[in-house]
Amino acid sequence: MIERWNRDQVLALAPDASSQKAAGTISSPGKWSGAGVTADAVWGECAGSGSKPYRACVDLSEPAYRCSCPSRKFPCKHALGLLLLWSANGVPAAEEVADWVGEWLDGRRDRAARAAEAGATRAARSGEAGPADSRRAALREQRVAAGLSDLERWLADQIRQGLAGSRRHDQWDDLVKRLIDAQAPAVAGSLSRLNTVLDGDDWPARLLSEYALLHLLCVAHRSLSAPADGGVDGGVGDGSGNVPEVAPAGLLERVRDRVGFSVTKEEVLAGEPVRDLWDVLGRRDEEHDRLIARRVWLRGRRTGRAALVLSFAPVGQALDASLVTGTTVDADLAFYPGSTPLRAVVAARYDTAHDAAPSGPPPGLTIERALDEVAEALAGDPWLDSWPLVLEGVTPAGSGSRLLAGPSGGLPLQESVGTPWRLVATSGGHPLTVAAEWTPRGLRPLTTWDEEGRVITL
């Protein structure tokens, strides 16, 4: 039996605030009839404005949602309201699922099996590329290389002329367009996000860092894509030369990912999966250009590996809500290739008996160990700007509780976090386990666990 999620966990699944509110209004037992819960599904019927009640059902093992209402939000308010009711212990246990629920669950499992088969076939086929494909690919390589050398020259120009005059928010627009035309969307994206850098007092230093890392990316792409050329001017390492001769395994893939060559999900799934009990540490949604990116951070209990499951949806539409903060999932993750693999997809999920809200926090690291880990990750991916950590025995400390402190010192929180009052209140001055996102600008707390082991989202 899956342990009931708490209210925060349920609300975290909502696509937006209005859904949260709407769910709240229909989460009372009086709104539901024929509700029931088994080991891995919860269902019920909710009277709407029409004559027939809406039938909502949640497959808790994924979780996956189904409702007969016409809402395009996902999960809809009925599924959420039902989960809230369940969370408040308002759904009676049942031996068997209702008939209409059983049909849906069976249908889902059939489709999942067929999809897995089809995926395997596609993956097998994708090895064979036709001549047209390879011409297209070669053309793209040329365009990207030209775009990046354009960027490299532009960066050098900036430094030659001086950054002092460049504090304009639209100064990258042209260049971003050229990079998109050059089919290097990811690097165009990093460039277009630079305007946030200009807001702080230390903008010259931050801008220089960002330009330097972009420069590094151009150099790395140039050297790694054409290793035969050898010594090209400018680069990293000793300040004048090339990419080190022994580049970390997967660095090319990492560089290509940062430039914007995408890897298909099938290719990712074809890789070696990592099975573990994955603690879902927390998540963060970010909006760019009417698209919401959802990052869900995970750490493996046995392997200690960090993972990031990324998903996207247009604003107002459903985001993937299958990973619930504070739960532990037994799953295969397939990692995207590259040095410092972090991004992953869930390849398969196993026995949901482990999908409980675990009693107590996941194992954590000391601050020193965590910093070592970040350093190692940066060695494989110098462009890394986020990494999930579980810190053990840390206390909110310092002026305004803006540090997470361990026995030998503290790490600052990111400025935008403010005083993390919920964390401070939970701690009461005592050390706790805190899941946090490392960023170059400081930690961003995600989740903590109180003295009774309850998960508390921050």
Partner: protein, 471 residues
Amino acid sequence: MNASADWEELVSTALVGTDRRPLPGEGASEVELLGHAAVHTLRMRAGRRPIAPGEPPALAAPEERPEVSRAAGDRLARVLGGEQPRLLTEWLETAAGRGYRLSPHLLPELLDHAARDRSIRPYLGVLAGNRGRWLAGLNPAWGFLLEEVTGVAATGSEPTSQVWEFGTSGDRRVHLGELRTADPTRARELLAATWEKEGPDDRAAFLEALSAGLSPEDEPFLESALDDRRREVRHQAADLLTRLPGSRLALRMAERVARYVTVAGGEIHVDPPVACDSTMERDGIRAKAPRGTGERGWWLQQAVARTPLEVWPRLLGRPPRELVRMKIVDWSREVMAGWVRAAVLQGDPEWALELFAWDPIADLLAALPRDRQESVAADFVRRHGLDGQLIMVLGGAAAPWGPALATAVLQKIIEVSGTQPWNLGELTKLAGERIDPALHDMAGRLSLEPSIQEVAALLRFRDDMLKELTQ
């Protein structure tokens, strides 16, 4: 290049531009600078060490009270999140009354709430526990918590003088109230001993505690409080003295009204005062009339309100029942309003009942004993249409409403839903919030009318909520 000074150097060179300030050495300066900057950036990111956190935070004191159950805490989070927001006060009042404390992670949100809404602060004194007071010490916006009742006075474990000497003003109020119930004389003496040192707000609040166990023995102290610097204190003292029929203030008031009001030929004749002198002001009559009110009528109304009600039958030779029905020549409105105010202030059920028939207002209903409240309110609901006044009157009926009033209100809802359903909102909400939640089954079975089902659902929500707070 190695130290952070070099980084500063790189940044300032980049700001100026390598055209004007080339890096020493050969090669393209700008490319070299970018290379160095990349190395520095990564060194700074990867080489970060922990920094000295300064003084470790003080530890919050261990808690003395049990934490609310997980289910109860979850429900509070639901209410704070916008589900049934009007039940927040009931949740807090119940939990505080049962001596619980909140789960720590709920505190910041609730303290923020209380920073905006004073009315819930008294409950937080108990509910916030030691963790809450610890947080209030860290965030000045929550400092109000440190003045609220912490509940130490109520536990009885502390030596009483300690609370009175060192407690928060809330704790001292509770302590005084409890002592007053147990030993009225000692409570008064305790208050008198520190009276001069108390702040004006505290003086008014402490004086209120004397309303329990009020007796003629309190008169000299209260009489001296009529000379207090603070108006709230003077008024509180005058209100209390009005409830002591033999007090000097009562006698002075009786003398006054005897000059204004007489009976002749089965009618009441009124001749209000022409001036407000300093002795009237000392007895709690405010000289300055509100805008739009005549001065004479204003003084008259206040004098009537501060006259012990038992004066009237003696003075005018009729029982209350007849008095409120007699013709009053001129000034009728002022005399009746004065009686209404007196009945409320003095909590006189007989007068309140008679006056309610003339002017059904919530305060008069609240002055009735509990069982009378219910039957009077139920009767009113049956006879009165659904309007603002009905809602106001019901506001005076203490919760939880028993079956008689509940049935009357639910019947009214059914009746109105056929004719003007758009008007039902407030009555439906009030019914859900005030009816005894144990009656939710009864309500649900009464009718399938959506408004009734809504009331039933709200009652069930409250029933669950209260059960969670008993576990």
